[in-house]
C-alpha cells in the first residue's frame, strides 16, 4: 500500500516527489513514457520568469514570484545550471507601451526589480535589436535553467530518499477502495491512500477517471527553432514582444548551453500526441523573431521542435483536492509560467493538502551534478584524466562530451537507458551534427554499462530499438 501515487514525471511531479521524499511516506511515481521530462518539460522556453506577467490575484502570480525566489538555492543543491541573464520586453507602438505600463505596475506591486530603457540605452547592450523598438522594460532577475536536467536531478534525489519511480506505466483507470484508490496501469495496479495528478497535458483525462470533469485541458502547441552556438552573439538577454492573449508570443532566448531558441507559436491542437512541426508554424516563428532582431542567421538552425503545453480551462493553475474524492489532488493546467512556478507549486500542494508530515531521520536534498568536463580549467581536466583516462576520450565532438561523463550519467538513481535520455541530461547529439557521429558510439557505451546487447538499446520510447536487424554477414546461407 502506497501512501501517495504521483502520476506524471514532468517537472511538477518531479518537484513534488523530491519535496515529499524527505517525509516518512511510501511514494510511487508513475510515468507513462520511457523517461521522465518527456513531454512539456522537454519542449519549452526554459525560462524562470520573475512573475510580472500573471494577473493580480491569480495563483500563477503568487506561485511564479515564489518559484523564482526558490530556484537559485534549489539549483545549487542539485548542482544544475541556473543563470540570471535578464529579460527585455520590447514595445513597438503606443499600445505596447500601455501594456508595458501594466506590467510595470505589477512588477512594482510584487516587488520585482525592473528598469525602463530607451533605444539609446538598450541598443548599446543589444545592438542587433530592431531600431524601431521604442521602449524596453527590462527584468534583470529573469533566469534560465535546463528543465530536463533539473527534472532528472529532482527525480534522482527522490529515488535516493526512497521514492519508487516506475517508467512505462500509463495510468488507464483509477478505482475507489475503502481506504483510498487503486491506480491501474496497462500491466500493474497500485493501491494508495493519496493520488497526486500531475499528468500535464493528460491531467484532465486522469481526473475524469474518478468522474471529475470540472476542468478541461487544451493542448496548446508551440513550435521552436534551435540555433547553433555560433549564433549566440544575437542577444545576451531573453527578448520578448509584449504579451498577448495567446501567451508571451515568439521569444528569442539564449539557452543555458549558449544556443539560441526562437519560439514558441501558440496553436491549439486536437490530439495529445501532435508535436509535429509545421511549415506555417515555423514560418510564423521566423517572421515574428525577425521583427525583433532583423538579421537572424537561419543557416545556423540545427533543430526544430514542437511541444504541447497544458492550457487549463480556468486560465489559472488548477490545484485542488477533489471534494467528492478526498485525497485526490489535481495539479493541472500548468502552462506558462509552469517551470518558473514548479518549486512553489510543489510547496503549495504539500502545505495545503498534507498535514502532520514527519521527516525521515535520513534524507538528502543534494546530489552531485554531472561533470561538465569541457567547462573545467586545464589543471582540473588533467587531474580528472589522470584519475580516470576515459575523461580524455571525447565522444560527442560538437558538445565536447567525454566517455566518462556519459558513464557517470548512466550510473545514476534513475538510469538513463536510451539515447534520448542521455541526450536530455548531457547533450550529446544536441550540437551541430545532431548525433550523426556520436550516436553509434553512445549505443555501445549504454550496452556496455548496462550489460545489454547493442541491438536492445532504444532511441526513446519503449521498444524503439535503433539496430533493428542484423545484416547478412558471413554466416548467411
Amino acid at each position: 500500500m502506497n501512501d501517495i501515487i504521483i502520476i506524471g514525471g514532468g517537472i511538477i511531479g518531479a518537484f513534488i516527489a523530491h519535496d515529499l521524499s524527505r517525509y516518512k511516506l511510501k511514494i510511487t511515481l508513475l510515468e507513462k513514457d520511457n523517461d521522465v521530462a518527456n513531454e512539456t518539460t522537454m519542449a519549452n522556453s526554459a525560462i524562470i520568469h520573475t512573475g510580472y506577467d500573471p494577473k493580480d490575484g491569480s495563483l500563477k502570480a503568487d506561485l511564479n514570484v515564489e518559484g523564482h525566489r526558490l530556484y537559485p538555492q534549489i539549483c545549487k543543491d542539485l548542482e544544475v545550471p541556473y543563470q540570471q541573464i535578464g529579460a527585455y520586453i520590447v514595445a513597438f507602438n503606443d499600445e505596447d507601451e500601455k501594456n508595458l505600463a501594466i506590467l510595470k505596475q505589477r512588477a512594482i506591486a510584487r516587488n520585482i526589480p525592473y528598469e525602463e530603457l530607451t533605444p539609446e540605452q538598450f541598443l548599446i547592450v543589444e545592438p542587433l535589436l530592431n531600431p524601431q523598438i521604442k521602449k524596453v522594460l527590462s527584468f534583470p532577475t529573469t533566469a534560465i535553467i535546463d528543465p530536463m536536467q533539473t527534472c532528472a536531478a529532482l527525480i534522482d534525489v527522490a529515488i535516493t530518499n526512497g521514492v519508487d519511480v516506475r517508467l512505462n506505466q500509463e495510468v488507464i483507470s483509477i478505482t475507489d477502495t475503502t481506504d483510498g484508490y487503486l491506480v491501474n496501469t496497462q500491466d500493474h495496479s497500485y493501491a494508495t491512500r493519496y493520488v497526486i495528478n500531475c499528468a500535464g497535458i493528460n491531467s484532465a483525462k486522469v481526473a475524469r477517471m474518478i468522474g471529475d470533469d470540472s476542468f478541461d485541458i487544451t493542448y496548446r502547441k508551440g513550435e521552436y527553432y534551435v540555433l547553433d552556438k555560433k549564433a549566440s552573439y544575437l542577444t545576451k538577454h531573453i527578448i520578448y514582444p509584449c504579451p498577448s492573449k495567446m501567451g508571451k508570443g515568439v521569444l528569442i532566448v539564449p539557452t543555458i548551453h549558449h544556443n539560441i531558441l526562437l519560439g514558441p507559436t501558440a496553436f491549439d491542437v486536437e490530439k495529445d500526441d501532435d508535436v509535429a512541426t509545421s511549415i506555417t508554424g515555423l514560418q510564423e516563428v521566423r517572421q515574428k523573431a525577425q521583427k525583433i532582431i532583423p538579421n537572424i542567421p537561419f543557416d545556423l538552425v540545427i533543430r526544430t521542435f514542437a511541444g504541447l503545453r497544458a492550457k487549463g480551462s480556468t486560465d489559472d493553475f488548477i490545484i485542488y483536492e477533489n471534494n467528492q474524492h478526498s485525497h485526490f489532488i489535481n495539479v493541472a493546467g500548468i502552462d506558462s509560467p509552469g517551470i518558473a512556478s514548479a518549486p512553489a507549486i510543489s510547496r503549495y500542494v504539500i502545505n495545503n493538502f498534507f498535514h502532520d508530515l514527519q521527516l525521515k531521520e535520513n534524507y538528502t536534498i543534494k546530489r552531485r551534478g554531472y561533470y561538465h568536463f569541457d567547462a573545467l580549467d586545464e589543471a582540473s581536466k588533467a587531474r580528472l584524466i589522470a584519475h580516470e583516462p576515459k575523461f580524455g576520450h571525447i565522444i560527442c565532438r560538437c558538445e565536447k562530451i567525454s566517455e566518462q561523463e556519459i558513464i557517470d550519467c548512466i550510473h545514476r538513481p534513475l538510469v538513463p537507458r536510451t539515447l534520448k535520455a542521455i541526450k536530455k541530461r548531457l547533450r550529446p547529439g544536441m550540437g551541430r551534427c545532431q548525433g550523426g557521429f556520436c550516436a553509434p558510439l553512445i549505443i555501445k557505451i549504454i550496452a556496455k554499462e548496462l550489460n545489454i546487447p547493442e541491438d536492445q538499446v532504444c532511441y526513446d520510447a519503449y521498444e524503439s530499438k535503433i539496430l533493428c536487424y542484423e545484416s547478412k554477414g558471413d554466416d548467411h546461407e
Partner: protein, 414 residues
C-alpha cells in the same frame, strides 16, 4: 612538445597530406585522429569506385584506405588515435586531449584535414514529427557496414547526394525495400554513375523537384509524405504522396567541420562553409586546410590530390619558400557558386582551381575576367552542380590581373 608539422584528422586527406609532406622533406610530423583508427569515412564505404585517379584501379573504400595506411606505416610519422583537437591558436599551438591527458603541441605548420559532417533533420527544418527512424545516410551506413545492423526494412531517402544513392543500393542488397529518393532540386545531386548503378539498376524511383512535406509517428517512424515543389522550392499543396516506411535516410548535403577555424576567429566562406584560403591552401601563414574540411568533394581522389598539394605546400612553407606578396581575390561570377582558393598571391606561378557551377550545363564557357576585362575563356563539357570542376590556371593569366579575378560559366546553347 614541439613538432614541425601537425596534421589534424587522419582520413584520406590527412594520410595523403602526411605522406606527401614527408616525401617533400618534412620528417617531424604528428598526425592526430579522433577515431580509434585512421582512414576516416573510407572505412565505412565498402562499395567500390574509389581510386581510379589515384591508383588507376577501382577499389573499395577500406581497400583505398589500406593502401594509404600501408604506405604511412613505412614512414616514421607519429600517429595519435582517439585524440580530439579542442583548439588551435594563430601562433600554431595545437591543444588536444586523449586518455593520456591534455597536450599542448607547438607546431611550425598545421594542416587541417578534419573532414565534414552531414546536414541533419534539424538543419533542414523538416516538418512533422521527430520519431526514431530518421538517420543521416552516413550514420545508417556506419551501423550497417561497421556495426552489422540494418536500421529498418522499409526505406525512403531524402536527397540525391552520393551517400544517399549508395545507401539505397546497399539497403536493397541487404533485403530492405527502398521506396524512392526525393530530390528538392530539378536535377540530381549525385554522380551520374551512382544514379545508374544505385537507383536505375534496382528500379528505385527518383522524384526530382520533390521534398518531404510531413513525417508521421510519434515514437517510431510510421510514414512520410512527399510533395512536389515549385521553382522557388516551396511545397505545392494537395499533391502529397504517402509512403509507409520505418526508415528515412537523409542525404541532404555535407558541411566542412569548421569549428577549429571558427574558434580561430576567421571568417568562413558563406557558400562552402569552409575556411577562406590562398592558392597554397593557407588560411593563415603556415596553417593549411584540405579535403572535405576545406570544401566538400565528390571523389576521394580529389581529396587525395588536394591534400597531397597541402603537404607539399606545408613543406615549402617550412623552408620559407611560399610567397608573401599581396593577394588578389577570386570572385565566383555568373553561374559559379564557389571557387577555392578564394585568394592568390600576385606573383603566383599558377594553381589548381576548384569550383562548382550553379546549374547543369551540357556545354559551357568558363570565362576569366580581370574586373570586367575578359582574359581567357575555355569551353568545357558536362558541367553539373554535383560534380566539382577543377581547372589548372596558368601564370600568364594570373599575371595580367590587376584588380580581382572573376570567374563565370556561360552556357553554350546548340
Amino acid at each position: 612538445m614541439n613538432k614541425k608539422l601537425v596534421i589534424i584528422g587522419a582520413g584520406s586527406g590527412g594520410l595523403c597530406a602526411a605522406i606527401s609532406a614527408y616525401k617533400h622533406g618534412t620528417h617531424d610530423i604528428l598526425l592526430i585522429e579522433q577515431d580509434q583508427e585512421t582512414g576516416g569515412i573510407l572505412n565505412q564505404c565498402i562499395h567500390n569506385g574509389f581510386g581510379l585517379h589515384t591508383f588507376q584501379e577501382e577499389l573499395t573504400g577500406p581497400a583505398f584506405a589500406q593502401r594509404l595506411k600501408d604506405e604511412i606505416a613505412q614512414l616514421p610519422i607519429d600517429i595519435w588515435l582517439d585524440t580530439c583537437v579542442t583548439n588551435i591558436t594563430k601562433e600554431k599551438m595545437v591543444i588536444c586531449q586523449n586518455k593520456n591527458g591534455i597536450h599542448h603541441i607547438q607546431a611550425q605548420a598545421i594542416i587541417i584535414t578534419a573532414g565534414c559532417y552531414e546536414r541533419s533533420q534539424g538543419a533542414i527544418a523538416l516538418t512533422g514529427h521527430r520519431p526514431k527512424g530518421i538517420y543521416t545516410a552516413g550514420q545508417a551506413q556506419k551501423y550497417l557496414n561497421q556495426d552489422g545492423y540494418l536500421v529498418g526494412k522499409n526505406v525512403f531517402i531524402l536527397g540525391s547526394g552520393d551517400i544517399g544513392l549508395i545507401m539505397a543500393r546497399r539497403m536493397s542488397l541487404e533485403g530492405a525495400k527502398v521506396y524512392g529518393v526525393a530530390e528538392i532540386m530539378p536535377y540530381s545531386n549525385g554522380l551520374k554513375r551512382n544514379i545508374v548503378q544505385c537507383l536505375d539498376d534496382f528500379d528505385i524511383p527518383l522524384y526530382l523537384s520533390h521534398t518531404i512535406s510531413n513525417i508521421f509517428g510519434k515514437d517510431k517512424l510510421e510514414a512520410i509524405e512527399i510533395s512536389p515543389v515549385d521553382e522557388n522550392r516551396q511545397i505545392i499543396p494537395n499533391q502529397a504522396k504517402r509512403f509507409n516506411v520505418d526508415t528515412l535516410l537523409l542525404s541532404v548535403g555535407l558541411i566542412p567541420e569548421n569549428s577549429l577555424i571558427y574558434q580561430l576567429g576567421l571568417p568562413l566562406d558563406t557558400k562552402t562553409k569552409g575556411p577562406i584560403v590562398d592558392e597554397f591552401l593557407q588560411l593563415l601563414p603556415g596553417i593549411f586546410a584540405a579535403g572535405n574540411g576545406l570544401h566538400v568533394h565528390d571523389l576521394v581522389d580529389h581529396v587525395a590530390s588536394e591534400a597531397r598539394q597541402a603537404g607539399i605546400n606545408a613543406s615549402l612553407y617550412l623552408e620559407n619558400k611560399l610567397s608573401n606578396k599581396p593577394m588578389i581575390q577570386i570572385i565566383p561570377g555568373e553561374n559559379v557558386s564557389y571557387c577555392v582558393p578564394q585568394f592568390f598571391h600576385q606573383d603566383s606561378s599558377g594553381f589548381k582551381l576548384s569550383l562548382r557551377v550553379k546549374l547543369p550545363m551540357p556545354k559551357a564557357k568558363l570565362q576569366f575576367f580581370d574586373d570586367n576585362k575578359l582574359l581567357k575563356e575555355q569551353v568545357m563539357m558536362n558541367l553539373f552542380p554535383a560534380e566539382m570542376v577543377t581547372y589548372q590556371i596558368s601564370a600568364d593569366v594570373l599575371a595580367s590581373i590587376s584588380t580581382k579575378l572573376t570567374i563565370k560559366a556561360v552556357m553554350i546553347n546548340e
